[in-house]
């Protein structure tokens, strides 16, 4: 007989354990075979893995309890006001504030060559705000998402020609980076909240697609900066490989980093909490019990994300970089392509926002699109992108030769798949490229690039952009398969009903 008294926390921890263990396993196998790494780094990785598992469990629990309800409430409340200017103003504000406080944006700003951080941060945030407004206007005026995306990506393609080479990789990366673990669940929930108020047939399709448009904002913003400023020599901070003699030093390293992430995550969470508090006071007036749950949810989200980011940055980053260097330095360095693909396949499960997306998709489609189908499509997508990224490092292929055809294919696919899948696909681009990509895949690529003697700025950067691009294709292919399956089932139904034709139908009592 099954036990039924386990709690949700246990379920969530099990889920995150299952998500993180495969990638940890691959790293162990690599470390014990072809890429020897110092024991102290391996210990940091083990500790980091623990933090990742607990952190992700708490984070997904927290988003279920707090982030998603807050986003949905704000979304449905503003629609109820039916004041267009108020709706648009609040959306702009939400998009901008949430992005300003995204910790990943700080990291991105430091990568962009020779331009004050504050200019980057402000312009990217305004970019997200503006495009959140665009996303809502699109819903109001019933413009097809795919048409809008085609127009915007064409604009991006044209801009690509004019901006300096140093900006290209970082600009495309910006789209994936700024939609981090805090923004994605919140903006997605906002869309669901808006859609939940509607009864017309587009409601379900429109519940996704907000993140998709929000990822376009930063790309265009960074490209604009590239047009206006003349960049100098670009810089990047190479990964420091720590050396730790004792277990106490290991702990000290984690201990010294935790406060940094406590501050970062606090900064990211604060605007959402303040926004919610204002809404609660002015409009929502939720009951005490519901507030309790949301309060605990916020606490879980905070603790979870602090643990996750500390574990990823302190534990995963050095290992990723080290393995990359070792693999790139091997005699047959082509082996980094299949290994990269394997890592890519499993690492996407360790992205916290992915679980939020899969759940959201499952619930909005009333269980029609299972979580497993989503996660497999994402895994295949990211496996392809890491493989391509590694190929690019070895052959030194310019990034535009991969990104532009990729985007062209995904936009073309949008004509053949149900609109819901296009919206989910373009949302998932921003979702798949989260902290795991930044702390493991990017250092891996940088390490490999250094070992192969390539240019880190033009060859290694851009891995985030690739991870953000390939799911657009794989999720839409899932849509094609789905449509095909539905058509077969429908055909079966029609044939059945054709057999017995009754002219007059009566109510049978």
């Amino acid at each position: 007989m099954k036990k039924h008294n386990r709690t949700l926390l246990f379920d969530k921890l099990k889920e995150s354990l299952v998500s993180v263990l495969p990638i940890a396993g691959i790293v162990f196998v690599l470390c014990f075979s072809i890429t020897p790494i110092p024991n102290d780094i391996l210990m940091a990785f083990v500790l980091g893995t623990f933090m990742l598992i607990i952190g992700m469990g708490l984070f997904t629990l927290g988003t279920d309890l707090a982030m998603t309800p807050i986003g949905e409430q704000i979304g449905s409340t503003i629609i109820k006001t039916k004041k267009v200017w108020l709706i648009l103003f609040i959306c702009f504000l939400v998009g901008m504030i949430v992005t300003i406080s995204e910790p990943d944006l700080q990291v991105l700003a430091e990568q962009v060559p020779n331009i004050p951080n504050i200019i980057i941060i402000l312009s990217v945030s305004v970019g997200v705000g503006v495009f959140l407004v665009v996303a809502l206007l699109r819903i109001f005026f019933k413009i097809k998402l795919s048409y809008l995306l085609i127009a915007l990506y064409t604009l991006i393609a044209i801009l690509t020609v004019f901006i300096p080479d140093e900006f290209i990789a970082v600009a495309y990366d910006a789209g994936g980076v700024t939609t981090g673990p805090m923004t994605v669940p919140f903006i997605m929930a906002l869309g669901v909240g808006v859609a939940s108020m509607r009864t017309d047939k587009d409601a379900e399709n429109d519940s996704f697609g907000l993140v998709a448009l929000c990822s376009v904002g930063p790309i265009i913003a960074v490209m604009m900066i590239g047009l206006l400023y003349h960049p100098g020599e670009s810089t990047y901070s190479s990964v420091e490989i720590p050396s730790l003699a004792t277990s106490l030093e290991l702990w000290k390293m984690f201990e010294s980093e935790i406060p940094i992430y406590m501050k970062d995550v606090g900064m990211a969470l604060l605007p959402i909490v303040i926004f919610f508090a204002i809404f609660q006071f002015m409009k929502l007036r939720m009951k005490k019990d519901a507030l309790f749950r949301i309060g605990f949810g916020i606490l879980y989200t905070y603790t979870g994300l602090v643990l996750f980011l500390t574990g990823a940055n302190v534990g995963f980053m050095p290992v990723g970089n080290y393995i990359g260097r070792q693999l790139g330095g091997l005699q047959n360095n082509w082996i980094i392509i299949p290994i990269g693909m394997l890592i890519g396949y499993f690492i996407v499960a360790a992205e916290p926002a992915v679980h939020v997306l899969n759940k959201q998709v499952y619930e909005m489609s009333s269980g029609l699109i299972p979580k497993k189908a989503m996660s497999t499509s994402l895994s295949i997508g990211v496996a392809c992108s890491v493989g391509l990224a590694m190929l690019r490092i070895i052959l030194e292929i310019p990034i535009v030769f991969i990104l532009l055809p990729g985007y062209a294919v995904s936009l073309l696919l949008s004509f053949f798949v149900p609109p819901l899948f296009t919206a989910i696909a373009f949302d998932s681009g921003g979702v798949a490229s989260g902290p795991m990509t930044a702390t493991f895949l990017l250092p891996l690529a940088m390490g490999a690039c250094v070992a192969c003697g390539g240019n880190v700025i033009t060859d290694a950067f851009g891995v985030v952009a690739m991870v953000a691009m390939t799911p657009l294709i794989t999720i839409q292919i899932l849509g094609v398969l789905f449509k095909h399956k539905m058509r077969i089932e429908h055909a079966g139904h029609d044939a059945e009903q054709g057999k017995s034709s009754v002219s007059a139908e009566e109510i049978i009592e």
Binding site: M1, K2, H4, N5, R6, T7, L8, L9, D11, L61, L65, S76, I79, K80, K82, V84, I139, F140, F141, K142, S196, M197, R198, T199, D200, D202, A203, M286, K287, D289, A290, F292, R293, F296, G297, Y300, E363, S366, G367, Q497, S500, V502, E505, E506, I507, I508, E509
Partner: protein
């Protein structure tokens, strides 16, 4: 027409796949799955937000002839009677709109006209359905619980309010509603309904309309 029943079966979400297979095996061609939530049970787990309450509701049309076997298998194969695993109940159908719909709903099951099979007088349970404004689940459930209800299941729904459909940029804006299902003993039914009407009735902010349906079969209801 007492040869057909609406079978409502609410189970934990992680058993969703098992139950889909179960229905397919029993040749129930037509069943709908709706995602729903169990109501929080006012304990520490609930306050901490870690109580597991995600459920799925299956609704199917079952002929009396298949119902007996289904009842048996739900209890002995799926263990629906095990505390906390779910609930199943059958409601009598009144009419069906046309023979095409009838064959669509009943699928492979054999339609046999048989006389009165169930003892209509012996119906110890009732299904209460409360429809309230969104966000008032706690108010309704507190009232119901004070009158002896054990728990409920919630489905989020959109209300379409007759003529007064609000439009905004051509999108129809719905009112958000919660539908709360509570299974109660016949003798407790009126007390629970009364409590809901007093605490969360039409005059209050919760604006709850509550009604009850006769239930002919219940499994998974925990009896003390």
């Amino acid at each position: 027409m007492n040869t057909m029943k609406l079978l409502i079966n609410i189970v934990k979400r992680e058993s969703e796949e098992e139950y889909i297979q179960f229905y397919k095996k029993h040749e129930i061609a037509f069943f709908l799955a709706t995602l729903c939530k169990g109501t929080a049970s006012k304990n520490m787990l609930d306050y901490l937000g870690i109580e597991r309450n995600e459920m799925v509701m299956f609704q199917s049309i079952v002929l009396d002839t298949s119902l007996k076997k289904l009842e048996h298998d739900l209890i002995y194969q799926m263990g629906i009677d095990v505390p906390g695993s779910g609930i199943a109940l059958a409601l009598p159908l009144d009419s069906v709109g046309g023979s095409l719909a009838l064959s669509y709903l009943s699928g492979e099951q054999q339609v046999i006209e048989i006389g009165e099979v169930t003892n209509m007088s012996e119906k110890p349970y009732a299904l209460l359905i409360a429809i309230s404004e969104k966000g008032n689940i706690d108010t309704v459930m507190d009232a119901a619980r004070s009158a002896g209800a054990r728990g409920g299941t919630v489905i989020n729904a959109k209300g379409t309010h007759g003529t007064s459909r609000t439009k905004f940029f051509g999108m129809s804006i719905a009112e958000e509603k919660d539908i709360i299902y509570i299974v109660a003993k016949q003798e407790e039914k009126n007390k629970i309904m009364q409590a809901i009407m007093e605490e969360a009735g039409m005059e209050t902010k919760a604006h709850t309309a509550v009604f009850s349906l006769p239930v002919e079969f219940v499994a998974g209801m925990q009896l003390e």
